[in-house]
Symmetry: C2
Subunit: 159 residues, 2 copies
Amino acid sequence: MSVVRNLTELGQDSYGRPGLMHMTIAGAVHHGMKEMEVWMQTFAPNSGTPIHRHECEEVFITLKGHGTLYLSRSRELDAPGEPEEFQIYPNATFTIPVDSVHQVRNTNQGEDLQVVVTISRPPMKSFIYKEWSTPHAEAVYEPREWDKEDKLSSASQQC
Amino acid sequence: MSVVRNLTELGQDSYGRPGLMHMTIAGAVHHGMKEMEVWMQTFAPNSGTPIHRHECEEVFITLKGHGTLYLSRSRELDAPGEPEEFQIYPNATFTIPVDSVHQVRNTNQGEDLQVVVTISRPPMKSFIYKEWSTPHAEAVYEPREWDKEDKLSSASQQC
Ligand SMILES: [Zn+2]
Ligand SMILES: [Zn+2]
């Protein structure tokens, strides 16, 4: 793998998720990173992340487009409940409170939402919620699609 | 601190380093991050980082401009010696091998070099080399200027 690589030439894939183009820029499964991981993700209109929580830290930087961050910060109730909503815009940056339940969606029409995402403790270990009313105890652990070794596509092998 | 902040409105400062504008987007000293840190740095022509090494992981994404990555990957000799040189360009991304001796400089004229930098194990703990011929054993630990609590400027307090 070259020391310096051109982001625009790196492999990206939807990994079976409609509306998503995901690129692991530097990661555990793909590149041997041990302590952090950096992604670029592009969401088509009306697509986004699942509702989820994780113990790792996560920081987003918005390169282009608009969207919405949904966030439930309290863990006192049995379920996340209705989330707070925050607008996302170009150059918006947000840090997800550890273990909070959150979701990022491209709620805009006609324009992709593109973000750089950094996480600690790679690879990502998320607990996925079916809905905001799903109890915390029923959230399901799922490895992320791009980290499933049997699904490593030829796109991801272009370092 | 607002959940979603506009990068272009966050405080940045040279922290006494000529040619540098540094912004800690999400960090240990400034924001309570524990496992990773994200910066934006802008280097004027002929400025750059010190020659240094660190145990943490570090990933760069180039937003704009051009420059040079200097890298000495071998630790077999007593000193880094002459580094390899790699060209940096817009959208260039590079991951610094842990504990390697490296430096990033804006070797271009007339154009700033702007990068997003992510590190693990914050805050940054670097060993600084006076020159590439400086023995590893003589590299000096220095906290980064933006993490020195007594130097937190009013700019950095704008979350
Ligand atoms: Zn997340
Ligand atoms: Zn470094």
